[in-house]
Symmetry: C2
Subunit: 339 residues, 2 copies
DNA sequence: TTTAGCACTCATCACCGAGGAGTGCTAACA
DNA sequence: TGTTAGCACTCCTCGGTGATGAGTGCTAAA
C-alpha cells in the first residue's frame, strides 16, 4: 500500500498532468505543491511509484505520466470529488427539467449539456422501447389507403407509423379497431406485445383484424432498435492528444459505429452509480487511450438507459464524474416525475 | 479569351491538382497529357495563365495551383461532366425512392447518401413547414390533462405535440373540436394558418375553442424553424487541406452554426439547377478555401428545400455536381409522387 | 531519511548544406 | 513567329549537427 507521502505525490502529479498535458517532473511538484520536501526526495518517491506501476516515463529525461493503474487509484481513492456550486447545480438541473420536451428532445438536450459541461464527447442511449408502457394508441384512416398509427408511450414518447395497405377499410372499422387496440394495450409494456395479446383482436375482428395486426407488428418491429445519441464530437479536437488528425479520425470513425458504442456503453455500466473505464480496461483497441465515464438512468427504479462521456485518459475525472452523475440524476427525475 | 491550347493546359492542371492535391509542374503535364508540345512551351502557357489570374504559384520553385478564377472557368466551360453509370444511377435513385420512409428519414438518407458519394460534408435543408399542406389533424385526449395533437402534412410529415392544459375537457368536446379543426384545415397550406382561419372555430366553440386555438398556435409556432441536417463531417479529415487540426476545427465549428449554414445555403442557390460557389465567392471567412455545390428540390414545381455539399475548393466538381443533381432530382421525385 | 550536487540522457529547436523540383530567360531552330 | 533545349536560379524539403535545457539517477554528506 502507498504511504501518505506517496499518495500526495501521486495526486499532485496526476492533478498537474490533467491540467497541463505535459509530463511532470520532480521540481514542478516541489515548487507548486508545498509538501515540505525537496525535489530529490520527490524524485525518489517517483522512482518508487514508477516501479510499482502507478507512473510511466515517456523517455528517460522526461517527467512522469500517470499509467492506467495510476488513474485507477486516483479515481478510486485519491481524487477530491468535484462539487458544482449550488448555482451551477440548479442551473444544470433546470436546463434538463425546465423545458417541456418530448423524450427524444430531452435526451438530445442531456447529451448537449453533458458535452458542454465536460468539453468531451457525450453519449446517451435512449430507452429501448421494450421498457416503455403504452399510454394510448390511435389508428387514423387517412383519405387514401394508408393508416396512421400513433402510439403514446410513457414517458413522453410519441411514435408514428404510416402503414399502407392494399385493402380499403371504412373509417368506422378503423375506429372500432382503434378503440379495441387502445383498450387492450393501455398500460401494457411494449416488451409484452406479441401474438398472444393480439389474438383476441384477431378473434373479434376476423380477417381484417389479422391483416392489421400483422401490419402493426411489422411496422412496430422497425422501431425497436436502441438508439445512441452523440454530441460534442468536435470537442476532442481541442484535446492535445488528438492534435494528430489520424487519431482523431480513428475515434470519429469509432463513434459512428453505433452498435459498437452500444456494446461499450452497456457493458461498461452494469452496476449503479457512476462507472469509470480507464484506458486498457476498455476492450476496444481504438479506445485504449480513452476513458469512459458512464451512469445509468431510471424510470422509477427501472434502469432504462445509459449515458456517458468519452475523453482522453487524461480527463478531469472529478468534474466529468460529477457532470455524468448530475445529468443522469436529472434525467431520471424528469422521466420518473413526468406522468 | 483563352485559345484552345491554354484551355487544354488549364484543364490538365486542374484535373491533376484535383487528383493529387500537389502543385503541378510543366513536366508533369508534358509527360502525362499528350499535348504534343514540350514542357518549355507549357511553361510559357502556364506563365500566361498565371498572369491572367487562372493559376497561382505557392512559391517560385513550386508548380502551379488553380486560383478561384481558374476553378470558376473550369466549372463553367472546361470540365467534362461526370456521368454515373446507368447501374450507379439506378442504385442511387433506388436508395432514396425505395424505402417507405417518413420525410425526415428520407432527408437523413439523402444526406447520408450524398456524403457517401462525394466523400465530403453534405447538408440538407428540410422543407420549412410553411410550405406544407395539411392532410389530417387529430386531437386525442390522454387520460390526464394533456392533449395530443397529431398533424399529418403532405408529403409524409407527421408532427406531434403534447399540449398541457389546466382546464379539463371531456373526450366528446375534444372529438368535436378535432373533427371541426380537421374539416377546416384539410388542404390548407401551413403558411395560411392564422387568426382568421381559426375565428370560425372560436365562434363555434366559444371559450374552450379560444383556449385550444391559442394553445395550438403557440404549440405549432415552435415547430416552424427550418432544419438543417449535416452528414459526413468526418470525411473532411481525409482531405489533405485539413490535415491541420485547427483548420478542421474551424470548419467543424462553422458547421455547427446552423443558422449561418442556412444563410449560406439559401443565398447560394436562388436559381434552379446545380449551383457552385467557389472559395472567395463565398461570403463567410471560414469558407474561403471551401467550395459549395447546391441544388434545390421540389414538390411539384414549388421549391421546398436546398441540399448541398461542402468541400475544399480542390474538389471533384464534376462528380460532386452530378451527385448533387441526382440526389436533388430523386428527392424531388420522391416528394412529388408521394401522395 | 533527506538532500545537495553532479554526471548523464535525450527531446527539442535552430541552423546548415545537399538534393531536387520547378521556373524564367535566352538563344537557336523550324 | 512559335517552339524548344539549355542553363542559371529559387527555394522547399530533408537529413544531420550541435546547443539548450528539462529531468533523472546516483552518491555522499547532513
Amino acid at each position: 500500500m502507498l504511504d501518505e507521502r506517496k499518495r500526495q505525490v501521486l495526486r499532485a502529479i496526476i492533478d498537474s498532468y490533467i491540467e497541463t498535458a505535459e509530463p511532470v517532473g520532480s521540481r514542478t511538484i516541489a515548487r507548486r505543491h508545498d509538501l515540505g520536501v525537496s525535489s530529490a526526495t520527490i524524485r525518489n518517491e517517483m522512482a518508487d511509484l514508477e516501479e510499482t506501476g502507478y507512473l510511466e516515463q515517456p523517455h528517460v529525461s522526461a517527467g512522469r505520466v500517470p499509467s492506467d493503474k495510476g488513474y485507477r487509484f486516483y479515481v478510486d481513492t485519491l481524487m477530491e470529488p468535484h462539487a458544482f456550486s449550488p448555482l451551477e447545480y440548479l442551473r444544470i438541473q433546470q436546463e434538463i427539467l425546465g423545458a417541456q420536451l418530448s423524450l427524444e428532445r430531452s435526451i438530445h438536450e442531456a447529451a448537449r449539456l453533458l458535452a458542454l459541461l465536460t468539453q468531451s464527447v457525450s453519449l446517451v442511449v435512449a430507452p429501448s422501447m421494450d421498457q416503455l408502457v403504452f399510454k394510448h394508441l390511435q389508428l387514423v384512416a387517412l383519405e387514401d389507403t394508408s393508416i396512421l398509427v400513433t402510439m403514446v408511450l410513457h414517458p413522453g414518447i410519441v411514435k408514428n407509423r404510416l402503414i399502407r395497405t392494399e385493402q380499403e377499410f371504412t373509417p368506422e372499422q378503423i375506429n372500432e379497431l382503434s378503440s379495441a387496440l387502445n383498450q387492450k394495450l393501455k398500460g401494457v409494456t411494449y416488451r409484452d406485445l406479441g401474438p398472444t395479446i393480439f389474438s383476441e383482436i384477431i378473434r373479434d375482428f376476423g380477417e381484417i383484424g389479422q391483416v392489421l395486426v400483422e401490419l402493426l407488428l411489422q411496422g412496430l418491429s422497425e422501431e425497436k432498435g436502441e438508439q445512441v445519441y452523440a454530441s460534442g464530437a468536435v470537442n476532442i479536437l481541442n484535446q492535445p492528444e488528438f492534435k494528430d488528425v489520424d487519431r482523431a479520425k480513428a475515434l470519429f470513425e469509432a463513434l459512428e459505429q453505433k452498435e459498437h458504442l452500444l456494446n461499450v456503453l452497456s457493458s461498461a455500466s452494469r452496476s449503479s452509480g457512476v462507472q469509470v473505464v480507464i484506458g486498457h480496461e476498455n476492450l476496444h483497441d481504438v479506445m485504449h487511450d480513452c476513458s469512459l465515464v458512464t451512469a445509468t438512468y431510471y424510470i422509477g427504479s427501472d434502469v432504462v438507459g445509459t449515458l456517458g462521456v468519452i475523453g482522453p485518459t487524461r480527463m478531469d475525472y472529478a468534474k466529468v464524474m460529477a457532470a455524468v452523475g448530475l445529468v443522469s440524476n436529472s434525467l431520471s427525475t424528469l422521466l420518473t416525475e413526468q406522468k
